[in-house]
């Protein structure tokens, strides 16, 4: 005989209608989180501190005073110099990405006030072809760098990128040289460059501007690498030790200055820029 007996059936009646997206599950710990509260927390899980991937727009809102934000070069869109075709045409992939993402390529470049410091900010967006770097990303970054140099502004970039965009062939590889070379001008203008790496920052992105900051910062537990875990596994046929290529690992190995939680990012940037430029907050 059962100890407990269900005395009555489950409550009848219409199912409560919960709209999609009110609750989200943490990718890392599985905790069920209230969407609005999560957004208020900068998309960081309050339980395990997992940093959800956020679009470029959210980073801009997080860091800059809304009424000061000015976007640049949003009229640049990718072209297809190679007439590249794999299982699909690159031209079709572009059209699809433009429509689906609401973006014009994998970066947004803006200027605005960060706690009183006027900065040039370039934020990569994983939502456009995996944040891959092609000619548009390279050109927009170079223009942002020159604006920073010309106007005596600090430059902040947030990388979130699968690396170079294969569909643009050597044009994309050359963006590594193009952006790195432009940074020489910024350095000569004695303006700080702060590079922030979000999850993931890989391939040629890491091997160029992402690692060239005067200050290199990562979000917690981001994947940051040159060759991704899959490529390494293919090469050496071995699984990687846990935590290999994480922000924490890179900090320990000496390739990062800081790991900063998203909620602390704005304050940290303001402090760094103030110190480097000798500007009071």
């Amino acid at each position: 005989m059962a100890w407990f007996k269900r005395s009555q059936g489950l409550p009848e009646g219409p199912k409560k209608n919960i709209p999609d997206g009110v609750w989200v599950k943490c990718d890392s710990c599985g905790e069920i989180l209230y969407r609005k509260e999560l957004t208020r927390q900068g998309d960081v899980c309050p339980k395990c501190r997992h940093h959800f991937r956020i679009p470029s727009k959210a980073f801009i809102e997080l860091l800059l005073d809304a009424d000061t934000v000015k976007e640049f070069d949003a009229n640049l869109t990718p072209s297809d110099p190679l007439q590249f075709k794999d299982t699909a045409k690159y031209a079709d992939r572009i059209t699809k990405s433009l429509a689906q993402s609401g973006l014009t390529d994998a970066i947004r470049c803006v200027s605005g006030s960060l706690s009183g410091h006027h900065v040039q900010l370039g934020v990569m967006d994983f939502g456009f072809m995996g944040g891959s770097v092609g000619a548009v990303v390279g050109e927009k970054l170079v223009r942002a760098i020159y604006r920073a140099a010309d106007n005596q502004n600090a430059l902040v970039t947030i990388s979130c990128s699968g690396g170079m965009r294969m569909q643009e062939g050597l044009f994309s590889l050359m963006q590594m040289a193009k952006v790195s070379a432009a940074l020489v001008r910024l350095s000569r203008a004695k303006q700080p460059y702060i590079s922030i790496m979000a999850n993931p920052t890989t391939g040629g992105t890491t091997a160029s501007f992402a690692m060239l900051g005067d200050i290199n910062i990562a979000e917690p537990r981001a994947l940051i690498c040159f060759a991704g875990p899959r490529v390494i596994k293919q090469t050496i046929g071995q699984d990687l030790p846990p935590g290999f290529q994480s922000s924490e690992f890179l900090l320990e190995k000496g390739f990062l200055d800081l790991i900063v939680e998203r909620t602390q990012l704005k304050a940290t940037l303001a402090n760094l820029i103030g110190l480097l430029k000798g500007e009071p907050e």
Partner: protein, 319 residues
């Protein structure tokens, strides 16, 4: 050393074997076959010319990777007899996948740096198949700085499948090492000339390639990703490398057409490996002439032009 025959060269090889056989017979006293030999020679030359005049991109990849293709040290041997190789990054160890040092180049003092592949299994293991670790790029950077200090132009010879993707390489900052070189090369006060002599494999190649002038040998390749890597990602099938090679447009004529490299150095008939001395002479004179031109400019002017040159690379739509 026996010549390695690539698959597409087989018909030529068959004719050449026949000629050899006939020649042996001629030595044996058989008469009346001299004219036959001459005829076959003409035929073989024609066939070679025909095959090499319409190489597809995958065939060029094979030439770029030909096991008998001259490597960095072969060029140095022919061009710079007083070359002294310098070792180590002064941080971790010496990386044999990169050769760096100083010597003369047409009576001018230069620093020469290049990736080095091995011949045969043993040397390839030592050279890590020409795939540098971060310490290799840091050694290169050290020698670039040395060259700058003593006002010696920089010549780089690019030949790598790519920077090594392994545990140690990642742990010691492969990404950072490459990035630092891109930046450092962009602001070098000395003139710099790079030549892609074989494989220009992605960031691992570019880390020696941010130069005032970049040349490619006629059958060399330069690519953002290897055809095999591209095929395994986009086609999810590494055997589609041939298609990927076509799509990526990785040959010297492609890239010169796009304005991404400054010039093409023509190779001897059938490829550089057929006449290593001749290709070394061409590389020597092309680089030397480029250095002559570059030395006519002020250092600051050269740096500006270099940054501008790379700054122009890329195509986009701007409405």
């Amino acid at each position: 050393m026996n010549r390695v025959t690539l698959a597409f060269e087989k018909p030529i090889k068959e004719l050449e074997d026949k000629i050899d056989e006939l020649e042996r017979m001629a030595h044996g006293g058989q008469i009346g076959i001299d004219s036959e030999i001459t005829k076959l020679r003409i035929k073989a030359d024609k066939l070679r010319e025909e095959i090499f005049s319409r190489l597809d991109r995958w065939q060029m990849v094979q030439l770029a990777r030909h096991p008998q293709r001259p490597y960095t040290l072969d060029y140095i041997k022919h061009i710079s007899p007083n070359f002294i190789e310098l070792h180590g990054d002064r941080l971790f160890r010496d990386d044999f996948a990169i050769v760096a040092g100083i010597g003369n180049w047409c009576n001018r003092r230069v620093a020469i740096i290049g990736q080095q592949k091995g011949r045969g299994t043993k040397e390839n293991i030592l050279r890590n198949f020409g795939m540098p670790h971060p310490e290799g790029y840091r050694k290169a950077l050290r020698i670039m700085r040395l060259a700058e200090k003593f006002n010696m132009p920089l010549v780089t010879l690019i030949d790598t499948p790519g920077a090594y993707p392994g545990l140690g390489a990642e742990e010691r900052g492969q990404a950072s090492a490459i990035a630092e070189n891109l930046y450092a090369m962009a602001e070098l006060k000395i003139p710099s000339v790079a030549v892609v002599i074989g494989e220009g494999g992605s960031g691992g190649a570019l880390a020696l390639g941010v130069s005032d002038k970049v040349f490619m040998l006629q059958y060399s390749i330069y690519s953002v990703i290897s055809p095999e890597g591209c095929a395994s990602i986009l086609w999810r099938d590494a055997t589609k490398a041939q298609l990927a090679a076509e799509a990526l447009r990785i040959t010297a004529p492609d890239l010169h057409g796009f304005g991404l490299v400054d010039g093409i150095i023509e190779e001897p008939f059938g490829g550089a490996h057929n006449d290593p001395l001749a290709i070394a002479k061409s590389v020597e004179s092309t680089v030397s002439r480029a250095l002559d031109d570059l030395l006519g400019l002020e250092p600051e002017n050269r740096i500006d032009l270099r940054i501008q040159k790379f700054g122009k690379m890329g195509q986009w739509i701007e409405k």
